[in-house]
């Protein structure tokens, strides 16, 4: 009998503990919801400065003390797009969470949500250098409800002789580019190299002994290194590391002498005075490193950049694709969007689908000529 009573007490205790636990969980979830709501309001307040201000299809209005967006003119193609997708859009990222592409996409998704009012789900399908994500988008319905990222020059991996990638430029329905980041040569802050010339001179004097961090064969930095070696008549050792964080660690510990990495990835280390930037692999100076010359200015005409773009599956209505392209270009012109990207050291450099296609062809020719020799 005592056992029964103890059991009953235990059950009651269990129940009360369970109820308490559910209450805690509910509290956490409700706090999250509140956060979400307040976050949305804060964003609106941040972007919508004056009543009546227009931003594309959206207009600011006064509602009590709160400013809210009110949808006015929405292109018919966008309307039918959102209707077909039931206001649920999906952006597939071919890389893992936390990488530069992922962060770029999540920021863009936030602005697409603001512009369209639709919910944009960003999902990660990492693998095979981004091609798994591309395959997933290619096989999605032809309604552009699912879009994906395509990065240049990473997407050119299909040109490698050993590649098993099945897509090419023609299999993708390109929309537009918004994100851009040039690569920069960095050395340790204590390094004896102060200019690109110092480095190149040392590479000539100590052929094969200078070590550069690399993402491996076929990667954008390996291509740039090959181009640099060809144009300077030097040879150096490439040390393959597992990702950009590993390259940063290897340079900090002075296991390598330099590496070429995206400005987005190394800006923090340059700001912290851990690294010195020698030259930028770009045709124009980077606004994030205004005092660093381009490699071309330093006498070495090597270009190595990253472009982040969106695409969808082939077969999507052209009018719809064009409307989405217009939407992305409008977002790319938004000063708040540019400012948010600036914080991440991502340059907003919009490319229309035609311009992107041309750039793809140009890079493919260069890539093919180099990859066959590596």
């Amino acid at each position: 009998m005592d056992n029964n009573r103890n059991g009953a007490v235990l059950m009651n205790r269990n129940k009360s503990v369970q109820i308490a636990a559910v209450a805690v969980t509910a509290l956490v979830l409700s706090l999250t919801t509140t956060t979400s709501a307040s976050a949305a309001t804060a964003k609106v307040n941040g972007a919508c400065k004056t009543v009546g201000q227009k931003s594309g299809s959206l207009t600011c209005t006064q509602s009590g003390t709160k400013k809210v967006w009110k949808t006015t003119v929405v292109p018919a193609a966008i309307k039918s797009w959102l209707k077909d997708c039931n206001n649920q859009l999906s952006v597939v990222i071919g890389y893992g969470a936390g990488g530069a592409t992922d962060i770029w996409a999540r920021l863009l998704a936030k602005y697409i949500e603001t512009e369209t009012g639709a919910k944009v789900n960003v999902t990660n399908t990492p693998g095979a250098g981004g091609s798994l994500g591309i395959n997933k988008v290619m096989s999605s319905k032809r309604n552009a409800c699912t879009m994906g990222n395509v990065n240049l020059p990473s997407a050119l991996q299909y040109l490698r002789p050993t590649s098993s990638v099945t897509y090419s430029k023609e299999s993708l329905n390109l929309i537009a580019t918004t994100g851009f980041s040039a690569n920069v040569i960095v050395v340790h802050a204590d390094s004896k190299y102060n200019t690109a010339k110092d480095l190149v001179d040392d590479m000539k004097a100590n052929a094969g002994r200078i070590k550069a961090g690399s993402d491996g064969p076929g990667s954008d930095d390996a291509i740039a290194y090959y181009d640099l070696a060809q144009k300077t008549g030097t040879t150096f050792t490439q040390v393959v590391t597992d990702g950009s964080a590993a390259k940063v660690a290897a340079l900090l510990s002075k296991q390598i002498d330099f590496f070429g990495g995206s400005i987005t990835g190394v800006k923090a280390n340059i700001d912290n005075k851990q690294f010195k930037a020698l030259c930028v692999f770009s045709d124009v100076k980077s606004k994030f490193l205004p005092t660093t010359p381009t490699c071309k200015e330093a006498g070495y005409d090597v270009i190595s950049t990253n472009m982040w773009s969106l695409f969808t599956s082939q077969g999507t209505l052209e009018s719809r694709r064009q409307a989405i392209e217009n939407l992305l270009l409008k977002i790319a012109a938004d000063k708040t969007y540019i400012a948010d990207n600036d914080k991440l050291a991502i340059e907003v450099r919009p490319f229309t689908s035609d311009a992107l296609s041309e750039e793809w062809t140009r890079q493919a020719v260069l890539y093919k000529s180099i990859i066959s020799k590596i």
């Binding site: 956490v28 949305a40 936390g98 250098g129 393959v240 900090l252 923090a268 700001d271 912290n272």
Partner: protein
């Protein structure tokens, strides 16, 4: 408040298999654009930290690791559940995590000095210590060394699948694009531990009933006394692993587990529900969760995907993690450290009362519980890359695990070598590249040489104990034969 939200969300994230902290923090990253800097960073940091504890729950109760770092906890945590000590296992996890977290936060105060030590570790040093960790696998082999080594080799093979990052060539990918990044670790682990357990139970004559296996959730003084050494050792190991960029979290908890087994006076109890087998890895796990912040805060190096997202949260707010953070934005740096200290208390306060709720899951009838677990595992596998491929891997791993269990092959060595294999290979090959391919350079680092020395000691100890054991058996047999002839 943000720390509470972060810890709560993190704990929930950890409980959901496959839905790791990187996915959760990535999902909430846009908040960094709208929340004050301190709030967004603290919330994201606490999600990560909370998930480190959350992953323990399913490991202990269902033998399903919620995330990679909880794999080692499965071994003795689940065995404790089978012995009716589920509540105690979760309670020691919470207490061990708390102590480890508090100690590790003190370490954070000296971030800059510790970071200088961490960055001095070369690929050669990492190779030496990876080899040492791999040698410790002999401690996980169980009764049969041969079967243990079969399991270890299987793990090494699984870890080799994917693109060779040095040549770009495919290895054992069978022409499948999905295998280019390697087999999904979490799906494999859920398969060989959780799914194979379920298949084994279904195939058994009698369905297990754990409803009476909840046991007391209160720790006795003796439990604490038995575990404190493990907690402190685990803290040291986890803290050290967290400093090394790129070091997988699962490796630290496994290292803590194998060390506990080696130092224990009763190693035979490990694998059968030893409380030290839970306290050590769990403390290592949480200490790593904190020390992971050191490379980020002091050097600006994100040592994991979650840390990369946190780095983004910093930069979104105009902050630059690295040596100047403590000078230019001391309020953020010290605020984050204070929040992590607070997160420890929050987690303990949230975790201990919830232990009874979590263990009450075991009251669900076994077959229904298995159905729910299978659903969660399948969803978790799907979430990894948003495709059915990982679900297929989960099931294949489950069937392979089930078959191996039938032959008495332990699964723990495979889990360890899946993690350590790629780490060992990368550090070996990169160390050689850094040293222009000279093999003699492998002995040029004093730290690596110490690791090699320890390997010799470990192997010699194992050989001596094996010889002693076989001598003892021989003597017993001969004495039995003599007494028989009399």
């Amino acid at each position: 408040m943000w720390a509470v939200i972060g810890c709560g969300l993190g704990m929930i994230t950890g409980v959901l298999p496959g839905f790791g902290p990187a996915a959760a923090t990535g999902l909430l990253l846009p908040f960094a654009f709208v929340l004050p800097p301190a709030a967004s960073i603290v919330m994201l940091a606490c999600i990560y930290y909370g998930s480190m504890y959350g992953g323990t729950i399913t490991s202990v109760l269902l033998n399903v690791p919620g995330e990679a770092s909880s794999v080692a906890t499965c071994i003795d945590g689940y065995a404790m559940t089978k012995r009716g000590m589920a509540g105690k296992a979760l309670a020691i996890s919470a207490v061990g995590s708390f102590i480890a977290g508090v100690i590790a936060v003190f370490g954070l105060i000296f971030s800059q000095k510790i970071a200088a030590f961490a960055i001095s570790f070369t690929y050669l040093d990492v190779f030496g210590f990876s080899l040492l960790a791999l040698t410790l696998v002999v401690g996980l082999t169980g009764d049969s060394m041969i079967k243990g080594l079969i399991s270890a080799c299987l793990g090494l093979f699984i870890g080799m699948v994917g693109l060779d990052i040095y040549t770009g060539g495919p290895r054992f990918t069978m022409g499948l694009d999905q295998l280019q990044e390697g087999l999904p670790f979490i799906a494999i682990i859920m398969g060989i531990f959780g799914l194979s357990e379920i298949l084994e139970s279904i195939g058994g004559k009698k369905q297990p009933d754990y409803s009476g296996n909840i046991g007391s959730t209160l720790l006795k003084w003796q439990d604490f006394k038995d575990s404190i050494g493990s907690i402190l050792r685990g803290t040291g190991i986890g803290f050290f692993f967290g400093l090394l960029p790129g070091s997988p979290a699962a490796a630290s908890s496994f290292a803590a587990y194998t060390v506990e087994k080696r130092v224990s006076k009763t190693p035979e109890k490990f694998g059968k529900g030893a409380i030290q087998g839970v306290a050590g890895p769990e403390s290592a796990n949480n200490a790593l969760g904190i020390s992971n912040f050191i490379p980020l805060l002091a050097l600006g190096i994100p040592s994991s995907a979650t840390m990369a997202i946190l780095l983004a949260a910093f930069t979104i707010n105009g902050l630059t993690p690295g040596p100047l953070l403590f000078t230019n934005n001391p309020e953020i740096a010290w605020g984050l450290i204070a929040s992590l200290a607070l997160a420890n208390v929050i987690l303990l306060v949230m975790a201990l009362p919830l232990v009874r709720m979590w263990v009450s899951i075991l009251k669900i009838p076994t077959m229904i519980l298995y159905t729910i677990t299978l659903s969660f595992m399948s969803i978790g596998a799907y979430v990894i890359d948003g495709s059915m491929f990982s679900v297929l891997v989960l099931w294949i791993a489950g069937i392979v695990g089930f078959t191996l269990r039938r032959f008495g092959v332990p699964m723990a060595p495979a889990a360890l070598t899946i993690v350590l294999g790629p780490m060992l290979e990368k550090s070996f090959r990169t160390a050689l590249q850094v040293n222009y391919g000279e093999f003699s350079s492998l002995f040029s680092s004093s730290r690596a040489n110490i690791a090699y020395g320890l390997i010799v000691v470990v192997l010699a100890t194992k050989m001596i104990s094996s010889i002693r054991k076989s001598n003892k058996v021989r003597k017993m047999k001969s004495s039995e034969a003599i007494s028989g002839s009399k």
